[in-house]
Symmetry: C2
Subunit: 258 residues, 2 copies
Amino acid sequence: MSEKRPLILVCNDDGITAPGIRALIDVMNELGEVVVVAPDSPQSGMGHAITINSTLRCDPHKMDDGPQTEFACSGTPVDCVKLAVNVILPRKPDLLVSGINHGSNSSINVIYSGTMSAAMEGALESIPSIGFSLCDYAWDANFESAKPYIKSLAKQVLSNGMPQGVCLNVNIPKSENGEYKGMKVCRQARANWEEEFDARKDPRERSYYWLTGKFVNYDHGEDTDEWALENNYISIVPVTSDFTAHHAISTLNSWDIE
Amino acid sequence: MSEKRPLILVCNDDGITAPGIRALIDVMNELGEVVVVAPDSPQSGMGHAITINSTLRCDPHKMDDGPQTEFACSGTPVDCVKLAVNVILPRKPDLLVSGINHGSNSSINVIYSGTMSAAMEGALESIPSIGFSLCDYAWDANFESAKPYIKSLAKQVLSNGMPQGVCLNVNIPKSENGEYKGMKVCRQARANWEEEFDARKDPRERSYYWLTGKFVNYDHGEDTDEWALENNYISIVPVTSDFTAHHAISTLNSWDIE
């Protein structure tokens, strides 16, 4: 790391013009050579979707005078990572960062998150990867206070690497005064969304629905990301790409399965 | 189960007209009262995507003379489950089955799979849930040989329930002679897709890409789903909705995180 500047891939799911990714690019420009490959339109809630039934566009993009190189892609966050690694970058990057997402990806939100799917795709490609999210959905949210923490953690990952198949899900609480208690390694809280569909009639009297819902945390553990965020810590959850419920294997083996 | 027939929700990602879901409906009609809520168009590769920026349609659908009730939904497989549970069904179903997918969802494919995201959404709603996939992409694939195994496993899940937050990822090998060695409880093999983008020029000389790739299994373990499938077993992997890499927490706590 001392002689050669690391190669850093930046992605997100809110789209390449989002203030959150611009803040992340600012920080990464201090740490290495930055290539941005991000969706040309918002891709929130896309989970780990990939584009298999249509073509992908990926074209150079210029937004500001920063030293980074940028590409806008027509696909999902996962498509962006695959295109970056296989088509755009000269070599495997030393770090992938995704975000800063406008809104929380803590707890079960990780499963729906395009920001985190980009980071998970990085982990599958054996790239040390971090997804960053700010628990503030506002487009003009304050990303400044988080910057020193993001820089510090990115440096840690650049020097330590990451365990095989693991990436980090980092959530940053909304801070009124711009101060945080620090960063905390956590597990994913057991929580869920309780949906409330808003049912309406269109002008032709046909029904349609809007998905809405409220987040419910069932998990009172003080080792969870939700606890950390409520207590003004930045939460860091290591996320695995092995979805096997290893603890359930012995239970299933006790069943009468032929 | 003896007096009252169980309520079974059927979903998929290939769309409500796919032969795979018709085969699954056939089997479930033997076990309980079946309600189908499935996408009105193919949703393969949608991962755990949800529809938050557009409206959802969900309308009654009739395709054959079976006793099941059916609804076609404009959204993703996860949207279908959320709509079914919150809008359509009179009570929480006793079982959710998703598939039968036309093509494998073994190993890392679980992360991209709309079929499995429906099952995982079921698990989040505390519904015993199973995703079924046949390792044959053909639209006219032979689903008959798998039916007795699907029925047997669904009965096991109806009587045993499932561990909290866990669902089953069931993959069925393509069998030449319609015979299987049986079913085997497995862990997810460590494998990945090596992408190869097919780069082309459109009639206006602008570049575009098709995502292609080949599946590479790095994992020689005989306890994996890939091993089971290669050896003509139906693989059953319990899948968790807790993505925390618990084994990595102590590693991260050894870092210099402030």
